[in-house]
């Protein structure tokens, strides 16, 4: 392993993040605060507790997941798409680095950025609601796995995208609806039975449910199923990345 190269990619990417640190921070903090005001205070005050948890607290895991998933995808895809777009990818391809090292560097940085945002939202949440995290270890595990797997997914989108429109297409048309319909703001049990059944096909449901379990010990699906779902998603992304690695698809044609 060329660790120096991995570190170089990672540091280079993180520098870009810190160059625009304030913008990177203000946006998620502001939008999360708005969610708390609108859903937590305004609407939440008219909603009874959900499975024993106040509504404002109930939406915290979903809000973090929402941000972490979209941030992971956008960081992961932009990180590799930008060098392709401006042409600096020539240097990556001509360097003595394997594709695995490129992936570790870029996805590592993208996941770290997503993690940052997730933690900042969590800290913001403490200002609005009274939160107790029941299983902190599981919470961290879910957070890390989600950051990594969605950054990987973003990386694949970044490799696939031929233009900025395509780069936005998957996050906008597929991921955002899945995340919103994945139980970020409600428990699946609140839905009519038909929609409950349909929701089971939404992979995001398992992730949010698992993450919420780590906070409050309540879940829409068993925690084991959630873990298997995130492991399967990560595995699938790794398989696709491995295939890209072997074929040079859309990078080394």
């Amino acid at each position: 392993m060329n660790w120096t190269a991995i570190k170089s990619i990672y540091v280079f990417e993180m520098t870009r993040f810190f160059r625009t640190f304030l913008q990177s921070l203000i946006s998620p903090v502001l939008s999360t605060s708005l969610y708390f005001v609108v859903f937590g205070a305004a609407i939440g005050s008219r909603i009874n507790e959900v499975e024993g948890v106040s509504y404002a607290a109930f939406i915290v895991p979903g809000l973090i997941m929402l941000s972490v998933m979209t941030q992971g995808i956008s960081n992961g895809s932009f990180g590799i798409y930008f060098p392709k777009f401006i042409g600096t990818i020539y240097e990556l391809l001509s360097a003595p680095v394997s594709f695995l090292e490129i992936v570790v560097g870029y996805v590592g940085a993208a996941a770290t950025k997503a993690m940052f945002i997730g933690v900042i939202i969590l800290i913001t949440a403490f200002f609005f609601v009274d939160l107790h995290i029941m299983h902190p270890g599981a919470m961290v595990l879910f957070l890390v796995l989600t950051c990594v797997s969605f950054s990987l997914f973003g990386f694949i989108i970044g490799i696939w995208a031929k233009n900025f429109e395509q780069l936005q297409l998957v996050p906008l048309l597929i991921v955002t609806p899945l995340v919103f319909l994945g139980g970020s703001f409600y428990s699946i049990s609140m839905l009519p039975p038909v929609w409950q059944a349909i929701s089971m096909f939404n992979p995001v449901v398992y992730l949010i449910s698992g993450f919420r379990w780590a906070f409050f010990g309540i879940a829409d699906v068993p925690i084991g199923t959630s873990l298997m779902a995130i492991a399967a998603f990560t595995g699938l992304c790794l398989l696709v990345v491995g295939w890209i690695f072997r074929t040079g698809w859309r990078i080394r044609e």
Binding site: A5, I86, G87, T88, E91, L92, S94, P96
Partner: protein, 309 residues
Amino acid sequence: MSTILEIRDLKKSYDGGFEALKGVNLSIEEGEIIALLGPNGAGKTTLISAICGIVMPTSGSVSVGGHDIGTDFRAARTLIGLVPQEVALEPFEKVINTVRFSRGLFGKRGDDALIETILKRLSLWDKRNNQIKELSGGMKRRVLIAKALAHEPRVLFLDEPTAGVDVELRKDMWDIVADLKADGVTIILTTHYIEEAEAIADRIGVIAKGEILLVEDKDALMLRMGKKELEVQLSAPLDALPASLQSDTVRLGPDGSSLIYTYDTRAERTGITKLLSDVAAEGLVLRDVVTRQSSLEDIFVTLVKEDAA
């Protein structure tokens, strides 16, 4: 000198059936500067891209310093530095950071003293903390060179380094290349400026339509090019060259109907006056006198045309 780059039957074809490289063979000696001349679309950039790992060759082999670029890509690529044709740089990054990044990417530990030397040599030191987007086009090209040199490559590829740059910068580039050669770096540059190849190369390769048409020592080529021929057409053909005209530089033309004299246009005395007076002394009657010169450009154009035919 030992061979540092060995290209064997390198082919690259694309899905549409287009053959960008049609079996290129080339050996490059350590420490030499070779210029690859060719028109646009000749395959120069594809050749470089295939060697450097940017495109996958369809078949053939390339080894750098004895390391195969496929099976031993780490060792091979560590030896290579690439300055691409297009200026591709992260616009918001500082000059020094992007050069440091390049070194790290090649697995080398940070060496600020070396980076300082490189930046100073390329007149970039004063701009080290500037963002790339603040630099002029010429400065950006220098940054590309600095990035390529940051990991101390033994072989440097310069893909049209002076395309679209002003005369002053072009001369600067040539000086930089001369410095690198003095350090023992092997340089492969592509260009379509014949003047550039003449100015800095040890050997010249001509490439067109994915094939190497000629690789020759520049001095030998220049010798051929610097020579001019004077053809003295005679009214009556000769059976043999008269004794007074016999020399290494005079030969009898086809059918004995002309004398062909080869001379160096750059010499102080061309010897034409003496030749003509010797011809007059032999009592030969002249029908016509023709001179012709083959330039590198002529050779280049002829080769490319022959290939197209």
